[in-house]
C-alpha cells in the first residue's frame, strides 16, 4: 500500500499536496481500502469555505458512509467533478485521478502540523 513521501496526511485519512497556497486534498489508499468499493462521494461547491477539522463532504462505500474532514482551512477553489461521476477512481488511483478538491489555504503553515507519510503509516499499523 502506498503512502507517497511528498504528501502530508491526517488521522482522518486525508492526504494533501502543496503547491504554493493551493492544497490538493484526497482520500488515502488506506482509507479507500478499508471502505471497500466507493460508490458515491459528496463534495462541496467551489467558493465554499473549508474549516480545518470540520466535515466538508461525505463518502460512501458498500460498507459505510463517512465524513470527509478538511485537513486545512480556506476556500474551495476546484472540485473534481469527474470523481463524482466515477467514484471508483478513488479506489483505483487515490493520489492521482481520485483527488477530491483544491483548497486555497488561508494559512499554508497549517500543513506543517500534519502527519508525514511515515507517521501516518505507523498510526494505521496500530
Amino acid at each position: 500500500m502506498e503512502f507517497p513521501d511528498d504528501l502530508k496526511y491526517t488521522d482522518k485519512h486525508m492526504w494533501v499536496r502543496v503547491d504554493g497556497s493551493e492544497i490538493t486534498v484526497g482520500l488515502t489508499a488506506y482509507a479507500a481500502d478499508e471502505m471497500g468499493e466507493i460508490v458515491y462521494v459528496e463534495l462541496p461547491e467551489e467558493g465554499e469555505a473549508a474549516v480545518a477539522g470540520e466535515p466538508f463532504g461525505s463518502i460512501e462505500s458498500t460498507k459505510a458512509i463517512e465524513d470527509l474532514v478538511a485537513p486545512v482551512g480556506g476556500k474551495v477553489k476546484k472540485v473534481n467533478t469527474e470523481v463524482v461521476d466515477a467514484p471508483e477512481s478513488i479506489n483505483e488511483d487515490p493520489y492521482g485521478n481520485g483527488w477530491l478538491v483544491v483548497v486555497d489555504a488561508e494559512d499554508v503553515k497549517q500543513v506543517d502540523e500534519l502527519l508525514s507519510a511515515a507517521d501516518y503509516e505507523a498510526q494505521m499499523a496500530k
Binding site: E34, M35, G36, E37, V39, Y40, E42, P44, E45, E54, P55, F56, G57, S58, E60, S61, T62, K63, A64, I65, E66, D67, V84, E88
Partner: protein, 288 residues
C-alpha cells in the same frame, strides 16, 4: 482485581414506521457524538413494512415507488450507506457509540468486526452458525445491485455464503451508528416486487440471502431473537446491557428529525448531492 465491564444502554423500542425509526437512530448517533448519551443497543421493528435506501442511493431505477405505495410501504432514506432493504418480518438492531468507546472503533473494518461479535453470538443462541464474509460474493457486475441482500461484501454476516444480516454504518463527528436488518422470515417475491424491474437482481435475491428461520430450520420469533441479541451483545462485546429508554433531549431531536428530514419527500426521494446547501455537517447539527 476484576475489571468492571462497560455498561451500555439497551432500548427495546417496539414497532414504528421507517421515518421514526431512522430519526431515532440518527438522534442517538448525534447524542453520542456530543458525549450526552451512553453507548446504546436499540432493537426495533417496522410497522408498516418499509423500504430503506442507502444515503446516496438513487430512487429512480432502484425502487418501484408505485408498488410501495400500493402496498402501503414507507420509503425512507437512511443516514447510513449501503443499498435498499425491505424491512418486514425482522429484528432491526442499531448500535450508537463514540468511536473511542468501542474497541477497534477508530477503524471501519475493526468496528464492524467488533459489532459482529455480538451478532454472531446472538445467532448462535438461536442455532445459526454465521460468520463474517471473507470477501465479496461474485455478482458479475461492478454496479451495485439495488438490493442490499443481493450481494455480500467483506465482513457481512453470512451463512454458507448467503447474507443473513444487512448492516450499514455511518461515521460522523467521532461517533458510529451501525444498524442492521436481521430477517426472521423473507418473502423473496415481496422484496423483488419493491425493487425496480431488473430480472438479474431479482433472480439473485433468492440465492444470495437467507432468513434466520430458514438458517435455523425452525420458526424463530421476534421476541426470541431480541433476547438472543441482548445476551449475544453482552457476551460478544463483553458489556453489560442496562434496559433504558430515550432521554427527553433525544426524543426531542428525533421528533424534529422526523418532521424536518425523515418524514419529507425532499430527503427521502432525492439524493443528497441534488440539494445544494444541505451539507452533511449542517444537516446533522444537533442544536437548532
Amino acid at each position: 482485581m476484576a475489571t468492571r465491564k462497560p455498561t451500555w444502554r439497551l432500548i427495546r423500542s417496539g414497532f414504528a414506521d421507517g421515518f421514526e425509526n431512522m430519526a431515532i437512530d440518527e438522534a442517538l448517533m448525534l447524542s453520542c457524538a456530543e458525549g450526552a448519551s451512553p453507548p446504546t443497543l436499540r432493537l426495533y421493528g417496522w410497522r408498516p413494512p418499509g423500504v430503506s435506501l442507502g444515503y446516496f442511493q438513487p430512487v429512480d431505477g432502484q425502487i418501484d415507488q408505485e408498488e410501495c405505495a400500493r402496498r402501503g410501504y414507507t420509503v425512507v432514506r437512511r443516514p447510513t450507506g449501503g443499498r435498499a432493504i425491505l424491512h418486514d418480518d425482522e429484528v432491526t438492531y442499531s448500535v450508537s457509540v463514540r468511536q473511542a468507546d468501542l474497541p477497534g472503533g477508530a477503524k471501519l473494518l475493526s468496528s464492524y468486526r467488533e459489532i459482529s461479535r455480538g451478532i454472531e453470538a446472538a445467532l448462535r443462541r438461536v442455532g445459526v452458525a454465521a460468520s463474517p464474509a471473507a470477501g465479496e460474493t461474485k455478482s458479475g457486475s461492478r454496479v451495485p445491485p439495488a438490493a442490499c441482500f443481493a450481494r455480500a461484501a467483506r465482513s457481512d454476516m453470512t451463512v454458507d455464503g448467503r447474507k443473513i444480516v444487512g448492516s450499514a454504518q455511518a461515521r460522523r463527528h467521532g461517533a458510529i451508528l451501525q444498524h442492521g436488518s436481521i430477517p426472521l422470515r423473507v418473502n423473496v417475491a415481496d422484496v423483488a416486487a419493491v425493487m425496480a424491474p431488473d430480472s438479474r437482481a431479482k433472480a439473485a435475491l433468492g440465492e444470495a440471502a437467507v432468513s434466520v428461520s430458514d438458517a435455523a430450520g425452525r420458526q424463530v420469533s421476534f421476541e426470541e431473537l431480541c433476547k438472543a441479541l441482548v445476551a449475544g451483545f453482552e457476551q460478544g462485546l463483553g458489556v453489560t446491557l442496562v434496559p433504558g429508554d430515550l432521554m427527553d433531549e433525544e426524543r426531542t431531536v428525533a421528533a424534529r428529525l422526523c418532521a424536518t428530514k425523515y418524514g419529507t419527500d425532499a430527503w427521502n426521494l432525492e439524493r443528497p448531492g441534488a440539494r445544494r446547501g444541505s451539507h452533511s455537517a449542517k444537516s446533522l447539527a444537533i442544536s437548532s
